[in-house]
């Protein structure tokens, strides 16, 4: 329940006591979260556990009533994110994607990314209207950066297509590209694998690793796909009913009694391996399966990968 007090300067994100209420409903209850630089941290939990609320609180879309959220940028400054406007959070270096894809559908792929690449440019409307050299320079810089990011995520072939005409998996990647174009140090991915097919999931896993390794971006990930979480995440935080109920390596979390209970609504006296498989099954089953819907365990043919 208490925040871990052991913070180091190496942490990219340090949230403690984050409490968010909507009227009588407590969406986040005293949540603490610590994230080391360069880490891939996954947030999991049943539907309605407050995962997206946590993201919205971190990015300024919601303002939690209590708590502190400190972001430490590479240059050394510590910034309080709570109550900061979303665009300011983005400019500090915290980018996000959305659970339900929110692209600018009537714009092309390139334009979508350019919008993000240009947000830190300083040219004013008057220089643009007069076509001054600095405006043209910025335009070119935005273009180049957008091309770079798009080829990083593998969409360079489709730059002139409309965002809305891309396949689901491509739209997910475009959203990630748009987030990357803001030069983030911390990237928040809200269910990036939702609705994608197995091939796209593999590509996504690869992409997340590359973002982390090649760009040095810390990744905070909400995901229902346990296979992806277990293979990609360094650590996992589990939320249920707005509270953090467990934290640790994927292997630790999988064996945690509280986690199993949260997902299955039953105490864990059964064979632990079977239950772990059931966790994966349950979350794959989609949003209709509530925490208490204890369907009989089916043996998953896939073995869990361990990092």
């Amino acid at each position: 329940m208490t925040a871990k007090a052991t913070t180091t300067d190496d942490d990219v994100l340090d949230a403690s006591g984050v409490t968010l209420r909507f009227g009588g409903l407590t969406s986040l209850d005293d949540v603490a979260l610590r994230m080391g630089r360069g880490e891939i941290l996954a947030v999991i939990g049943p539907n309605g556990a407050g995962k997206t609320s946590l993201f919205n609180s971190l990015t300024g879309a919601y303002v939690p009533q209590e708590g502190t959220i400190t972001f430490r940028s590479r240059t050394g400054g510590a910034h309080e994110l709570r109550g900061r406007k979303p665009y300011r959070v983005s400019r500090l270096g915290v980018a996000r994607t959305f659970q339900n894809i929110r692209l600018f559908g009537a714009l092309t792929v390139l334009e979508n990314v350019k919008i993000a690449a240009e947000t830190r440019q300083r040219t004013d409307a008057i220089s643009i209207m007069l076509g001054l050299p600095n405006a043209r320079r910025d335009e070119r810089a935005g273009d180049e950066k957008a091309h770079r990011v798009l080829s990083f995520v593998g969409l360079e072939e489709r730059i002139n297509e409309l965002a809305s005409s891309l396949s689901y998996g491509e739209q997910r990647r475009l959203e990630i590209a748009r987030a990357l174009a803001t030069d983030p140090e911390l990237l928040l991915l809200d269910e990036p694998a939702a609705g994608t097919n197995p091939t796209e999931k593999r590509d996504l896993e690869h992409l997340i690793r590359r973002i982390n390794a090649e760009l040095g971006v810390s990744v905070l990930l909400i995901e229902h796909d346990m296979k992806l979480v277990m293979s990609v995440a360094d650590r996992v935080v589990v939320l249920n009913f707005g509270r953090k109920i467990a934290e640790g390596t994927p292997a630790q979390v999988q064996r945690d009694a509280a986690v199993i209970e949260a997902y299955l609504g039953a105490s864990a006296e059964e064979d632990r391996a079977a239950v772990a498989d059931m966790v994966a099954e349950q979350t794959d089953a989609g949003p209709s399966a509530g925490p208490s819907a204890g369907s009989p365990p089916e043996k998953s043919p896939e073995k869990e990968e361990r990092p």
Binding site: Y87, I128, N160
Partner: protein, 461 residues
């Protein structure tokens, strides 16, 4: 086609054969004819002669006797025939046309390539068009010269400014004429036309930058606290702002001259030392001033549209939450659009006041805001060519109808045209490609991006 065998409903012959059966008039087909005929009679009455007070039934009678009924009934029968018997053919033709015109909106050609390949051709065409526009007023009667300056020129300028606010940034502004009024009263004030003496009297050309700044400030003052609002709410706020400006102009007589306004304002004049020119009653020189400003404004605005500013506006219009999360300072860009629109309106106001040589509050009633808005929507929100053509056409139409129909009915035709247009071509006359795609996506349920961005914000937790 209730109760009718499916095969019998295909040809006119079998339809006629069914006449023998009882209650033929209850068949939907004949009922539709009846409805169309009733509509035709109504239209004949509406478009026919006006009633007079001392002989109430005279016009009614005349309209039944006259040829108008015949024409309308003919149209009704023709529409009915086409709808009933050639519907499939029409539908096929329309879909073929649509395919040829639009095509599936999947890819967008790289604009740079398209511009590059046909640049010379484009500039040539634009130059020729400009030349035509320059000599146009010399070829028409004085009446049309007046219409060009007092109506078309003024409204085109207003519409181009309003297009920034509505078409690009997606904010519904119903108080646009307020800035027009501020521009006009600025002109009156700084040229010494109002009861209050200005610190220095300025030439009208110098008033323009002053009015631009005044309107920018007014736009920012109004916008800063209110641009958090969206859609309908913003519309009401701007309507309220317009009402404030209008009532101040009307009631603050010590400053504005009250309902009578101010007369005998200075017109434009230019004195370069070696050459001077005074604008007088002749409308044509004003037209050239307006044309010059419109061309300059359009060039500047088109640059904006295809810059990061224009893209940011589109992003805000489509999804404000995503735009903010991407780092776009939404309030700042909305404010920018609002201020740019306001200052354009202000320039139009200065030119208008100086051309008329008088101002009074009745020139700035809210109707003109609504008209400007409908011109923008009619032409195609977000599309500069569309707005230009749409505005010019809609302003021209009532004047054109002046001698052809009953003068009191002119705006009825305008209204009918707007209604029909919004039903069959909601994207406007020459829609912008971005807007067209948005409308199509909204129609297909792909995106929530509607015309004015009024959609439930926020997201699920």
């Amino acid at each position: 086609m209730s109760g009718v065998p499916a095969t019998a409903a295909r040809t006119p012959l079998s339809a006629a054969a069914r006449l023998r059966k009882g209650k033929w008039y209850e068949q939907p087909r004949w009922r539709r004819l009846g409805a169309l005929l009733a509509l035709a009679v109504l239209m004949a009455q509406v478009t026919g002669e006006q009633g007079v007070r001392n002989d109430l039934f005279h016009a009614l009678e005349q309209n039944f006797k006259g040829g108008g009924v015949g024409v309308w009934v003919g149209i009704a029968v023709a529409v009915w025939l086409i709808r009933e018997f050639f519907d499939d053919a029409v539908a096929r033709g329309v879909s073929r046309l649509r395919e040829r015109a639009g095509g599936p909106a999947r890819t967008v050609r790289a604009t740079s390539g398209r511009l590059f390949g046909r640049r010379g051709y484009r500039w040539g065409a634009l130059g020729a068009l400009l030349l035509v526009l320059i000599v146009l007023p010399l070829t028409v009667t004085t009446f049309w010269q007046q219409v060009l300056v007092d109506q078309i020129g003024v409204y085109v300028m207003l519409a181009v400014g309003l297009n920034v606010v509505i078409g690009w940034a997606g904010m519904l502004d119903l108080g646009f004429i307020a800035f027009f009024a501020i521009g006009a009263y600025s002109s009156a004030y700084w040229t010494g036309g109002l009861p209050v003496e200005p610190p220095v009297e300025l030439n009208n050309f110098l008033v323009i930058p002053v009015a631009v700044v005044t309107c920018l400030v007014a736009g920012v003052l109004l916008g800063a606290p209110t641009l958090r609002l969206r859609g309908d709410y913003l519309a009401i706020v701007t309507l309220g702002f317009h009402e404030i400006v209008y009532l101040v102009a009307k009631n603050y007589a010590e400053f504005t001259g009250g309902t009578r306004g101010a007369n005998g304002l200075d017109r434009f004049s230019l004195d370069l030392g070696f050459w001077s020119y005074d604008w007088t009653l002749d409308p044509v020189p004003y037209y050239w001033i307006q044309l010059g400003f419109v061309v300059v404004i359009i060039v500047l605005f088109l640059r904006l549209e295809h810059s990061r500013v224009g893209r940011a506006w589109t992003a805000i219009r489509e999804d404000e939450v995503a735009a903010a999360a991407t780092g776009v300072n939404t309030v700042r860009f909305k404010l920018l659009a609002f201020a740019i629109g306001a200052s354009t309106s202000g320039v139009a106001g200065v030119i208008y006041a100086s051309k008329q040589a008088f101002v009074n509050p009745e020139q700035f009633v809210v109707l003109f805001s609504i008209l400007a808005l409908s011109y923008v929507v009619f032409g195609g929100m977000g599309s500069v060519p569309g707005v230009l053509v749409g505005t010019a056409f809609l302003v021209w139409l009532p004047q054109f109808l002046r001698d052809r129909v009953d003068p009191q009915d002119r705006y009825m035709y305008l209204g009918a045209l707007l209604v029909i247009m919004m039903i069959y071509r909601p994207q406007g006359l020459l829609p912008s490609r971005r807007r067209q795609r948005e409308l199509r996506m909204a129609g297909e349920g792909v995106s929530g991006a509607d015309a004015l961005g009024a959609r439930p914000g926020g997201e699920r937790g």
